[in-house]
Amino acid sequence: MISPKDTPDAPGSLTGTDRQLFHLKSLYEASSALAVPARPADLLRAFLPVAMGPLGLTFGFGILLHAGALTIESLGLQPPAADLYRASGLDLVHKFFPEDAAPAHPSRPVILAGEHLSHDPNLPMGTAAVIALSMGAGTHAVLGFGPKVAGVPLDADETRLLDGLASVLGHALNNATAMECVRDLNTSLARRNDDLHRALGESERAREALSRHTLQLRALYETTLEMIDIHEPGGILDAFLLSLMGTLSFTGGWIALYGPGHGRAEAVCRGLAPCVREELVSETGRGAVLARFVALKDRIPHANHACLVDDPEERQALPAQADAAVLFTLDQGWQGAIGLSAPLSGERDDELLDEDARQLLHSLVANFMVTLGNARQLDLIRELNSELAARNVDLQTTLDALTSAKREIDVQTKAKEHLVALVHGEVERVWRASWLDICLILLAGATLGILYNLSSPGGIDLVPKSLLAPPPVMIEAAEARRLARDDKAVIIDARPGDFFLQGHIPDAVNLPEDLFEFVYSMKLSDLDPAVPLLVYGRNISRRYDADVARQLELLGHERVLLIKGGLDAWNGLGPEEAP
């Protein structure tokens, strides 16, 4: 840099060529000084000595308005004057570059010089030149310089030099503002890149979440599709367990379903020992699962609702191994539990299922309960239909029986009417019968009776012997009891053996008429003829007692008496009192 002190005594003493060379060197050095990358404010600060030195100026100041910020630099001004322009710098810039007329593009610098500037109140006292620079787009600069040290005004060459220096400053400021703009753009671009990266990350996460949701929806769809064709509860349990293990990546699992009352339990298990199923359907298993519902208290699942068992101790209390477990309630009567064990990941911590997996498990179990409930309703409808069919069969049988009975009744009614008509006809015909017919009928009957009596050893008497024989002696039941007790009379039951077995007077001898001779020879042949014989046994159609009594009298027994009223009269006396 060439300072005024390095120059010969005065620039004005140089010859024309040397002076031009000096100005060119000054311009070169100014260009070199301002060529380094710097901020516009730094360029302004560096420009003042570069411009003031070659021209030998006493002071200089610069005001830069860039991106809405005001920068003021001064060199050679007394502090009060510098502070004054720090306060009114913006007005000075707006004086040269009104806001409504600010150029949008860089323009050449404008140099004002002359004696009038030294008396302008808006400028420092003695200002010899003012340069206005516009870099466009809100970047403007106003530079002011004081008089030369030599006290002479700037000549034309010096004014051109100042113009050249202002142009160099203009270019430098343009480059600086452009670089700053590029820097701002880079910063903005980096910020936007960051934003873009952030957006890309969020997009990736959203895509992953969407993939998970798609996977969950697919699993829900496939599980539902698999179970929808199964109408038997046991098959649904098995299919759902297999689908659940595959979806949530478990190698073992079980489902137990308990109905109202004991003995109504169903269970399936996979990847576990076969005895697990026996344990699940046992009363112990039922009690262990239902105890979990009781432990939940007010959080117990309502109808068609399920809840995860998060407490590891609660899971341990279930009847089979479960790293993840769900309790569910179909309705008030049917409850159950699902257990999953041995995850493929090998992890066995409490947070085995993340939020997505828990939500998927909830959705799958909800679908499972709906399908299972439908299957149970279908089973119930089938049972009702079977009962209805059985009742229909019974009803049809009853209807058939009633129809048959009605037909039979109709037939019997017709038969009755026919018989009544026949009887009426016969009665009428009998009334029309002649005496000859009646005689023939009586003759035929008598002939048949005689033939029967001749052929049968026990034939029927034409006239009962009891009617021809003298009437037997009767005795009151009470007297007969006394006689039997005091005179050692023998009581004889004359009825057939079957009647005797149904009931008889104590100590009576059964002497049926048709076995009279045989029994008499065994029981009574040695009896004293004087011993009284008390005979009973008769009914409406037969008088066994009279016939037997007559035979006994014929055998020589002197006192054969018939008990009046027979067995009924005897029993009517009540139990015999001890003598």
């Binding site: 049968s456 050893p457 026990g458 076995l515 001779e517 045989f518 065994m522 042949s525």
Partner: protein, 104 residues
């Protein structure tokens, strides 16, 4: 003689042996009821006599299936009996069972 005729000839004695021996029942039998001795005579003509020291009662008898025998009284009654080998067990109302053994 054909083979079938020979077979029938061989089976004939067996059939004869298995057939009920209706001619073995007729004869005289004896039984006791306390001090009373009862003699029973079954005739081949289906008639019989039940006799004690004081009575002599005629009857008819018939053989039933499965070892049973019935004594038909003149008054129309029936005394059932069971054939036990060579003995005959008869039952009368109010009388202990009477076991009649054949007389030599």
């Amino acid at each position: 003689m054909t083979r079938r005729d020979l077979l029938l000839l061989m089976l004939l004695p067996a059939f004869t042996a298995c057939a009920p021996d209706r001619d073995t029942l007729p004869g005289d039998y004896s039984a006791r009821n306390g001090e009373i001795e009862i003699r029973l005579r079954l005739g081949k003509d289906g008639k019989g006599v039940w006799s004690t020291d004081t009575d002599e009662i005629p009857f008819k008898w018939s053989r039933r299936d499965e070892g049973h025998i019935w004594l038909h009284t003149v008054a129309g009654g029936v005394i059932p009996g069971i054939i036990e080998g060579e003995d005959i067990r008869l039952t009368l109302p109010g009388v202990p069972p009477l076991v009649f053994t054949p007389l030599p």
